[in-house]
């Protein structure tokens, strides 16, 4: 079986029961992607599958063969942090760091969803081509990623900062 992970083609033979999350963590030692609940409730395992954010615990490795997977390990360029990573450090968008890779991958996916004009549950004008990334929009769109330490204010500040647009309260 083959996958493209962070730009590199990786191969392995795995159990059909193996989730994408366990493939990353146990077979490729890419343990940056975290397991918080293994049932799609916490978002700690968020990765980008062909650019869209998904819960890696809810995808089987066999099911995503041949697809392009980006994990937190693939975001920085050498020592240079991705702007979202740098914003998380600057705005203290974490404490223990365990939910952080999922939050960051989620934020990368979120930025792309805004670019594509995808609405959320709090979007008032569903057909607007340019949805304003308001404070509520960001909070709603980051609500699939739990942070038990409670760094939510810092997370949303980091996401707002990294979008490079004014965010209305």
């Amino acid at each position: 079986m083959k996958w493209t992970i962070n730009g590199h083609v990786r191969e392995a033979e795995v159990d059909f029961r193996t989730s994408l999350l366990d493939l990353l963590r146990e077979h490729f030692q890419l343990s940056g992607t975290k397991k918080g609940c293994n049932q799609g409730a916490c978002g700690a395992c968020t990765v980008l599958l062909d650019g869209q954010r998904i819960n890696a615990c809810l995808a089987l490795a066999v099911q995503v063969q041949g697809r392009d997977i980006m994990t937190v390990e693939g975001l920085a360029e050498g020592d240079a942090l991705h702007p979202i990573q740098a914003a998380f450090v600057e705005h203290d968008g974490f404490q223990c760091g365990y939910c952080t890779p999922g939050q960051i991958c989620s934020a990368v996916g979120l930025a792309e969803e805004f670019e594509r004009g995808l609405p959320s549950a709090v979007t008032k004008d569903l057909v607007a081509s340019d949805i304003e990334p308001s404070h509520d929009e960001l909070r709603e769109r980051m609500s699939g990623n739990l942070c038990r330490c409670g760094a939510y204010n810092g997370i949303v500040a980091a996401v707002a900062d990294s979008l490079g647009r004014e965010v209305r309260r």
């Binding site: 963590r25 942090l81 600057e90 404490q95 223990c96 365990y98 890779p101 204010n153």
Partner: protein, 773 residues
């Protein structure tokens, strides 16, 4: 060898005793408490930030050993009884399975020492671990499978069938309450405290509030589930147990495991460089013991990552409580009687009666006080410490009752608290080391716009929303437990400060780097702070909000030892020749004479002159004398604005502000996050968190993050935090721990705001929408 220290087990030295000391020999406060001294308080970003945002930080379940097996557990489905048969044949025949361990083949183990009962106790309860057929709670591990992959282990564990002889179990709190009794102790103190005759004073009081408040079970739900990767290394008879754990007590866990396995503590090595949240739950539970026992039996390394459900089955949470608060007051609002009593669920196998009267001991200067805790014994997983044990749920009851009294008196709730501000600790009689609660309340009220609050409930509306404001007092004690020691190694590169402490996200590594830099007069870039390794010196618990002070006290002692060593190295040519420690100070990367800029030598010069590559100093922290002389607490006031929908009963927290008095704040950035994080857990306590315990079976019915609701991003408004920043003259750095105070008071502030919004007083947590309809 430790990957962090390069030291082996033999290198761990006992600290150099420095007992009966004060922060400075002249008895003056720690100069680091002074404003702005060398970056104290600066909003330094986390030094481990880059590791955490790139996925480079490795947690316990992410280390590997060659030949490692994966573990899975099977859990009991009864709350009390015996195992009469375990059918493991299918599991044993399954592909990849290397071992099935039950009580029939587990290695013989000693009973773990219990936290707070034994000096070496880190364990949640005193049940033997898989040593006999007894079942003590619904969810107790009854079998363990080791297999080549996690998938194989999980499938095999599912195939195990257990037959039980069920015995009657106390699983109903209502029934257990009828047999409630006084516990031996509450956190080492008495279960009942009396000042005057509160019951008599209450009977004759002009104004009276007498109400019952109930709080449910809670689970910590750190996002990192408990995990351990371990191996027995070395040859027969002399093996060393090497453990990668998620721990907030590495040294204590070593001591407990040594007792369980009957081996010397020097043969156990735990590291825990990153911990994915703890909140009181990451101590010693059965999973570490079972994994180590199975690894011994199988002769191979083991990884055990508990499932989320497994965490609920194996790791205890906060106990449920039923509390009575009875307040008697005169017309001026002076409390004449304060009674806070009640019952918490507990087991006969642990030692933590949920201490819900803790905050009430110090908050209000009532003439007569009675505080009493009883426990109701249940067949359940042992309850344990969870963020602000006692204060978090105790302040919900007390501070709700204060609000009820304020309304009866027609008095502003803050004014009522002001009128009952005590001069001394009302139950211990000790003077307060540092108490600026009223300043914090005043500043917070001004910032929040408290004066806009309508005293009449239900007066403010916005469409379907009724809007209300509420406030409550927050408090948590200052503690500094014995056992801390630190080692400082000075070399040409700078200084390494090492101590067996922990970083679970509080910011310890960052803040202690700042503190060490200020203490030693070095830039932060030249400090390495080493922690999370049982080979390091000292016993420091990341709990009780005490770690910052404990490390601070140890580093003060080690720095003093280092100065002694440095002065011992200087020769006659040095400008420091012939000086005593009291005459010098650490500054500008060296040692200089106090008040004389010209007499100075850098550390590098001193080391080079003495032809030393490095200098090591190690010392024990001074005894916690400050706690014998002073009543020491942190304080704060929580302000909350809620909207309650008239249509659905939905409650939204619109604004939240915490104004704190917690001594000197050491890092404004990480401190703000700590306060907010505690307050957010307080929002969970107020509005949604509840571990659902089936009173028929004793089983936890919502062991998942889908069914146990914690606050998500959308539940959390932008939270303002502020602090007095007044140093406590009796603590290291003038600081208090701040990890737990944030959760206190929030439950009541929310409940009081809901009452102000819609006139509905809810005394039962969590305040879900059905309760306000």
């Amino acid at each position: 060898m430790s990957p962090f220290t390069g030291k082996t087990l033999e290198d761990k030295q006992p600290g150099v005793a420095l007992s009966g000391d004060y922060w400075r020999p002249d008895g003056r406060p720690d100069p680091l408490g002074e404003s702005g001294r060398q970056g104290i308080g600066a909003p330094l970003s986390r030094i481990d930030g880059a590791q955490k945002v790139t996925g480079g930080a490795r947690f316990a379940g992410e280390f590997r050993f060659d030949g490692m097996l994966y573990a899975a557990l099977a859990y009991s489905t009864i709350a009390n009884g015996r195992i009469v048969g375990i059918d493991t044949r299918v599991a044993e025949s399954m592909e990849g399975v290397a071992l099935v361990m039950t009580h029939e083949n587990a290695p013989r183990l000693n009973t773990p020492p219990v936290f707070l009962r034994s000096p070496d106790g880190a364990a949640g309860d005193d049940h033997p671990v898989m040593q006999n057929e007894r079942v003590h709670w619904n969810g107790q591990p009854v079998a363990l499978v080791l297999a080549e992959t996690q998938e194989q282990a999980d499938a095999a564990a599912e195939s195990i069938h257990v037959a039980y002889a069920t015995e009657s179990a106390m699983t109903d709190f209502e029934m257990a309450k009828t047999q409630a009794h006084e516990p031996d102790n509450v956190l080492g103190g008495p279960a009942e405290i009396r000042v005057g005759d509160a019951d008599a004073a209450f009977e004759t009081a002009t104004h009276r509030i007498d109400a019952t408040y109930t709080t449910p079970r809670h689970n910590h739900n750190a996002i990192e589930p408990h995990a351990v990767t371990l191996a027995w290394e070395g040859e027969g008879g002399n093996e060393t147990l090497r453990i990668h754990d998620a721990s907030q007590c590495v040294d204590l866990a070593v001591a407990s495991l040594a007792e369980v396995f009957g081996i010397d503590a020097s043969r156990i090595h735990i590291t825990s460089p990153f911990v994915g949240g703890g909140f009181g739950g990451k101590t010693l539970w059965q999973h570490q013991i079972l994994a180590a026992a199975a690894a011994k039996l199988a002769g191979r390394p083991v990884r055990m990552s508990l499932t989320r459900k497994g965490v609920y089955r194996v790791v205890g949470g906060r106990a449920c409580t039923e509390q009575r608060v009875a307040l008697g007051a005169d017309d001026q609002g002076r409390l004449t009687a304060l009674i806070h009593s009640g019952i918490a669920a507990m087991t006969r196998h642990n030692n933590l009666p949920e201490p819900f009267t803790q905050a009430t001991k110090c908050l209000y200067g009532a003439d007569n006080i009675r505080l009493a805790i009883e426990v109701a014994d249940m067949h359940m997983l042992a309850n344990t410490f969870m963020r602000a044990p006692g204060e978090s749920v105790g302040t919900f009851a007390l501070e709700s009752a204060l609000d009820e009294l304020a309304e009866q008196l027609g008095m502003d709730p803050i004014e009522l608290r002001k009128r009952n501000e005590p001069e001394r600790d009302p139950t211990s009689g000790l003077p307060f080391s540092s108490r600026h609660l009223l300043e914090a309340a005043r500043a917070g009220a001004e910032r929040f716009g408290w004066s806009e609050r309508a005293s009449q409930p239900g007066s403010r509306r916005e469409g379907e929303w009724r809007i209300g404001l509420g406030c409550a007092t927050a408090t948590y004690p200052y503690m500094r437990m014995p056992g801390a020691a630190a080692r400082i190694t000075l070399d040409a590169e700078g200084a390494t400060v090492a101590i067996a402490a922990h970083e679970m996200g509080m910011g310890t590594a960052t803040v202690q780097t700042q503190v060490a830099a200020a203490r030693l007069g070095l830039p932060v870039e030249r400090i390495r702070f080493r922690y999370g390794d049982s080979l390091l010196t000292g016993r420091v618990l990341a709990g009780g909000s005490q770690q910052t002070a404990a490390i601070g006290g140890a580093v003060i002692a080690a720095q003093r030892a280092l100065v002694d060593e440095l002065l011992g190295l200087v020769d006659a040519d040095s400008p420091l020749a012939g000086l005593s420690p009291a005459q010098v100070e650490c500054r500008d990367e060296g040692l200089g004479v106090v008040g004389d800029d010209s007499r100075f030598e850098t550390y590098r010069q001193i080391l080079a002159r003495a032809e030393r590559a490095e200098l090591v100093a190690e010392a024990d922290a001074a005894d916690s004398e400050e706690l014998a002389n002073w009543s020491m607490h942190s304080f704060g006031t929580i302000f909350c604005e809620v909207g309650v929908s008239e249509v659905t009963g939905e409650i939204r927290v619109r604004r939240l502000l915490g104004s704190f008095d917690c001594g000197r704040i050491l890092n404004a950035k990480t401190a703000a996050s700590q306060f907010r994080g505690g307050m957010i857990m307080g929002l969970g306590l107020a509005l949604m968190e509840e571990t659902l315990f089936d009173s028929r079976s004793g089983r936890i019915m919502n062991p998942s993050l889908a069914d146990y609701h914690v606050p998500v991003q959308m539940d959390v408004p932008e939270i303002e935090v502020m602090w007095t920043d007044i140093p406590d003259p009796h603590t290291p750095m003038g600081a208090h721990g701040i990890g737990e105070i944030g959760i206190t008071g929030v439950g009541a502030a929310v409940a009081n705001a809901i009452y102000n919004a819609c006139g509905k007083r809810v005394r039962d947590l969590p305040i879900t929408l059905d309760k306000v309809m």
